[in-house]
């Protein structure tokens, strides 16, 4: 199953885990499976239409999904996905 890295800000809502392995044939499916597993992540991750919020970038094997097929980007079991919200701490 694809391996998903969760940012520190979401971990309290995901059982404290920094990575999870979940099924998902696309990025969108993986995100919704994450929410199904950890419902409290939903408000941090998805907008009202069920899409990844705009301040969050998603990378598949270090590539921004905007350069791939967006949330429709296909995944394989070996893929590593990172969810990174914008941050501004200084």
């Amino acid at each position: 199953m694809p391996k998903l890295y969760l940012p520190t800000i979401m971990r309290p809502n995901a059982g404290g885990r920094s990575t999870v392995q979940l099924s998902g044939e696309t990025v969108s499916e993986l995100m919704h499976n994450l929410v199904a597993e950890y419902p409290n992540v939903k408000g941090q991750l998805l907008d009202a239409d069920g899409h990844v919020q705009r301040h969050i970038n998603v990378y598949v094997n270090d590539e921004d999904i905007r350069s791939l097929s967006g949330e429709n980007t296909a995944l394989t079991d070996r893929d590593e996905i990172m969810v990174l919200p914008a941050m501004a701490g200084g």
Partner: protein, 253 residues
């Protein structure tokens, strides 16, 4: 221009000798640093680390914009202050520390946070902008200035034990608004982010190295890459970031 040892004092040659010995650095890079001006938004954990490394490396001029006075919670991460500075205007303490670190550096301070009203004064004739502000609004102001002036910007940010650094080359790679077109709705206060010293220090040190590379031509800059780390999990990734052709800030370049 041919740079000779006589262009530097004996003391300067010795204090910079370790970096002058770096393959590809030499006296020419040292001269370029000395003739460069960097404008930094805030002198805190990230910005202060950028400033202190640039001062140690022999930058010519620094401008630092930072408002307010120093409070105890700054002490866990800001390299330009000590206990004795609590209650002082931030920029006064920053200038004093930098003068002790390297009195050859010309430091100009602006006792305000960056805004649309003062950005022209803060940036002035800077060869490079360094962005270490804790609010997106300030970061976007610096980003717009970098794009408008066509000068590079090094952007470093952190949250908790995570951090990133990227180098913005207007017209060649993504600007900050391409990477993050929208800020998180919850990020409305400087107290939003938890921090422990090594996080912002790593971000600032990496950003300072990026500035040195861009100003001297040494090494390879992080253009179109966002170098991300998480110190909790030892995650470290050079993520690819890309231009947004419809970006309202740099899409016209």
């Amino acid at each position: 221009m041919t740079v000779r040892e006589q262009d530097f004092t004996d003391f300067q040659l010795e204090r910079y000798s370790r970096q002058i010995r770096l393959d590809g650095f030499g006296l020419e890079a040292q001269r370029r640093l000395r003739s460069s001006h960097v404008a930094i938004s805030r002198g805190g954990g990230v910005g202060g680390t950028i400033a202190i490394h640039l001062a140690r490396a022999g930058i010519g001029r620094l401008t630092i914009a930072h408002g307010g006075t120093l409070v105890p919670e700054y002490l866990n991460r800001m390299p330009l202050i000590t206990n004795e500075d609590i209650g002082r205007p931030c920029v006064d303490a920053f200038a004093d520390m930098l003068a002790r670190v390297n009195p050859d550096v010309q430091v100009r301070t602006v006792a305000e946070y960056v805004s649309d009203d003062n950005i022209a004064d803060v940036v002035g004739d800077a060869d490079l902008i360094a962005d270490g502000a804790p609010l997106f609004e300030e970061r976007y102001v610096m980003n717009r200035a970098a794009v408008a002036m066509r000068v590079p910007m090094v952007s470093g940010a952190m949250y908790d034990t995570e951090g990133y650094v990227t180098t913005i080359a207007p017209g060649r790679g993504p600007c900050l608004a391409c990477i993050y077109p929208q800020k998180p709705a919850y990020w409305n206060d400087v107290h939003i982010f938890p921090a422990i010293g090594p996080g912002p220090t790593i971000v600032g040190a990496m950003a300072a190295m990026e500035a040195i590379k861009l100003l001297t031509g040494f090494g390879e800059p992080l253009e179109s890459r966002l170098w991300f780390f998480d110190l909790r999990t030892n995650t470290n990734r050079p993520l690819k970031v890309l231009r947004d052709p419809s970006c309202t800030v740099c899409g016209h370049l």
